[in-house]
Symmetry: C2
Subunit: 526 residues, 2 copies
């Protein structure tokens, strides 16, 4: 049956994708470098726009997660296809990005059932549907259709997202935190990134406006601040104390920025940490909230890894929950929490769903946020539906509850084992120190590079950790992001390594990495 | 069967959406004003951010399609629910926005079948699936899965979109135009709006950079130019010649802008026109291309209504096709074409799919465009899939071909009839002149308001066409956008009226509108 369909597919593929210039339709998801060779040929010169006539903010913006190392990996992947066996590895392992399903993680069945039914509601009444879909998925699809005006899943929604879905998300937040949540505070977005851009666009007036960001940070923040022409005010996380966030450091950097004439508008906190994986303690969160209140800073809380906790002694607490537990309400602190369907155990990166919960802003400023949202009309409805599902998964008694919890726990327990195995492996290596991944999807080991390696990097006109990552890629096919892409204490070198490769691959990855690292240290031993 | 499911749905709705503050989960898609009352109460004052401390570009940005009149309509809709029979109408008719499915247009079955199967591929092998889905939808779903690396529909894709889907789109463009299209020129986006923002962000460095935009224009352009801090350089379409685009007017406005020290970077052309509905002639398109080439302007071609043509003597020609037919290639002209899944006969606004075809840019500038795209990772995969489908619909011989063409032609022929009926109705009214809607989804009638009405508007501190639209809304429940939201020749007044209400409702809408207009003219007769 499958084979028949596959053969038909091949035939139709050829027919339906046939085009004058079209080469094989099957292709890698990262073939843009090969694209450029073609592009370069076809557009040798253009009189109208050149690098020195585009917006300099665009030139300044950098995003290392898809930067130099990844571009080289894409070339290698093309090369592997063209000349199999030509490299010391037979596949490229993308450990550079938190993209679980690209590394084999399967989607949660219940979520996909509901999405499929909402995409094609006319099958909801058919008998065959009950043979294909769980009863609670069918019921949930009806729930969702009932809150979509006219059941029009193909219509633009309210620019904050469908009210009934925001009610569901607010209900999920309220039960998570134990404090009320207002559906009118929810702005649904195409993943968390556009929400971050919206807040940067609102807050940044010029390079004199500063945003306090952790170092190391997820480069979306540095990229967005650059695109909006603001100043990134760094505060360093303390690697020695497990990437601790010290209030004294926040104060020092805030005063330093102010002494330079920077108006600091906001503090970005990433919890659980990316790339650092630490989970903030409640006491630390209270200090952060007090600091923002005292210094009149908007607290931007990146909480997209809220479902990714791997250690028994830590749990996720939203900053809003902690603020409310301190008796602080809307009048006391301006707080924006970002959540995404791309992370957690769901890992639905391709669906581009997410939201921001906006609290502590005046009605007139909220109207400005709404206005900017309305210019883009609305976020995609499937992403809106999925956001309502991840905040309201199956409950005890629902038909899917047992299979859902098995899928969820299977993913999270495996991620915890992978994190531990990789952490232990890194710590077993000469000159490598790796903090525990308490949460999120990454390890950020520090690598004490030999003086000779640093000199070799300089000679190769490369940053030392980029030099290391490039050598790692060429030797093993493993793609990581150099620490310099996230920021680090000057003179220290790191790499970000996702814990996402499938568990059965971890031992081979560890031994490949180990062998590379040992020979690298041997080659550059002082 | 349906009833059973619906009753179960109600129960689950109450359980799964229950929240401390949650009111009724079923709600209008435009309830944001009622939100704000709540918001205003909960955030009476906030010390951190105020209107005078946010980015002034955000304050300056306006988007009339969801502006003052729509906000008032949302209030009325709440009021209708609370006090039925309290108004001279029993429903709000949203004729302000091109949102077909919100007014009852049904999605195209084949497209939804494929989307559902790609959302839940594990049913592709099941026997029941063949009873529920057409054979070519199943085959197309396999085609698509085969071009997605690892069949991971939940993974981030290449930041330009999945290569195999771009190949399919390029094939569709090539067969539409009869000229080759390179998949590497396609950037898939969440609808056309983010693509427009990306180009504005690339081109605008300061208020000294200008973008030539038609007046009247779709306010996304004025909003995006404001958000990016550039200058909108207006050129007026000639209403007397059916909203003709005169090259002499382009020249005049370009020279005028340059004399003021503005560097004009780009020309925006909307074809078919929004809000004007005109379809450009090939001769006119050749003149436009020559003008951009001569003046070194990037040609931004808004071609999202390419499938919405209602008159036999006009057909859609892409500006790229015309440029290629003139022998002009990548080296001769920088041209960006925008397309969306929200318009056409598909009208899938909620899916947020679209693309831009970027030609005539150097490789290094394209890399900058790619970099900005990569910061947001990728557009939503369902939207990417849908974009590949609308550019490659079922073909003769496919099982769905006949039903697909019946659905498509049914929608387009009905839209043509609605456009003609509304045009005739407007032209039958005192003081109203309405050009034909050759394409797109709107009529833009000119209304010669009596002097007394203009004085009454001024007295009410309102713009005359906004005053008219507000009176229309209060009397009939019909929501339109005042011409002042799109721009118009000073002293002329218009409204934008979508042709999208279902055909059986058109006669009632016409008589309600007619009655209102006659009494309005009577009331304010000079």
């Amino acid at each position: 049956m499958r084979r028949v369909a596959a053969e038909r597919a091949k035939r139709l593929l050829i027919r339906s994708f046939l085009a004058p210039q079209s080469s094989a339709a099957v292709s890698s998801p990262f073939s843009f470098l090969s694209s450029y060779s073609a592009a370069a040929m076809s557009t040798a010169s253009t009189p109208v726009v050149s690098l020195d006539s585009i917006n300099p903010k665009v030139l300044k913006c950098e995003y290392a997660v898809r930067g130099e190392i990844v571009n080289h990996a894409q070339l290698l992947q093309e090369d592997l296809k063209a000349k199999p066996g030509h490299h010391p590895f037979d596949e490229i392992l993308y450990c550079n990005i938190g993209n679980p399903q690209s590394l084999g993680q399967q989607p949660v069945t219940f979520f996909r059932e509901v999405l499929a039914l909402c995409d094609h509601p006319s099958i909801l009444d058919r008998d065959e549907t009950h043979g294909l879909f769980s009863a609670d998925a069918i019921a949930r699809a009806w729930d969702i259709l009932d809150v979509i005006p006219g059941r029009a899943t193909g219509a633009y929604s309210h620019s904050q997202g469908i009210k009934g879905l925001r009610e569901a998300i607010a209900a999920g937040i309220a039960s998570r935190d134990g404090y009320p949540c207002n559906a009118d505070d929810i702005f649904l977005t195409d993943g968390a990134s556009p929400a971050v851009h919206m807040m940067m666009q609102l807050l940044i007036r010029s390079e004199k406006d500063g945003i306090l960001c952790p170092i190391p940070q997820y480069p979306l923040y540095s990229a967005s601040i650059a695109l909006h022409g603001g100043s990134l005010v760094p505060y360093y996380l303390d690697e020695a104390s497990g990437w601790g966030l010290e209030i004294s450091e926040l104060k020092k950097q805030l005063e330093d920025a102010r002494s330079k004439g920077i108006t600091v508008r906001s503090l970005v906190v990433i919890n659980p940490g990316n790339p650092t994986g630490q989970v903030l303690s409640e006491e630390n969160q209270r200090q952060i909230i007090e600091f923002c209140k005292k210094e009149s800073l908007v607290l931007l809380a990146d909480e997209v890894y809220q479902d990714n906790i791997y250690v028994g002694d830590k749990k996720f607490n939203s900053l809003k929950k902690i603020a409310r537990s301190m008796g602080l309400g809307d009048k006391d602190i301006s707080l924006v929490s970002f959540q995404s369907v791309s992370k957690g155990y769901y890992g639905e990166c391709g669906k581009r769903g997410g939201y921001m919960e906006v609290t502590g802003f005046s009605a007139d400023v909220r109207e400005q946020i709404y206005k900017v949202a309305s210019v883009n009309l609305c976020s995609n409805i499937s992403g809106q539906i999925l956001a309502s599902l991840v905040m309201n998964p199956p409950k005890p008694g629902d038909e899917s509850y047992d299979s859902f919890t098995a899928e969820r726990d299977g993913i999270l327990l495996s991620l915890a084992r992978r994190a531990k195995a990789l952490e232990d492996a890194f710590n077993s290596l000469e000159g490598v120190i790796c903090n525990k991944a308490e949460g999120a999807m990454y390890l950020f080991p520090r690598i004490h590079l030999p003086k000779k390696a640093i000199e070799a990097a300089k000679a190769a006109n490369s940053v030392p950790d980029t030099f290391y990552a490039r050598r790692l890629l060429d030797a093993t096919g493993i793609v990581v992001v150099p620490g310099s892409g996230f920021g680090q204490v000057p003179g220290t070198w790191h790499i970000r390594f996702t814990i996402l490769p499938q568990e059965e691959k971890i031992p081979a990855i560890i031994s490949r990495f180990k062998a590379f690292h040992e020979s690298f240290m041997e080659e550059f031993r002082n």
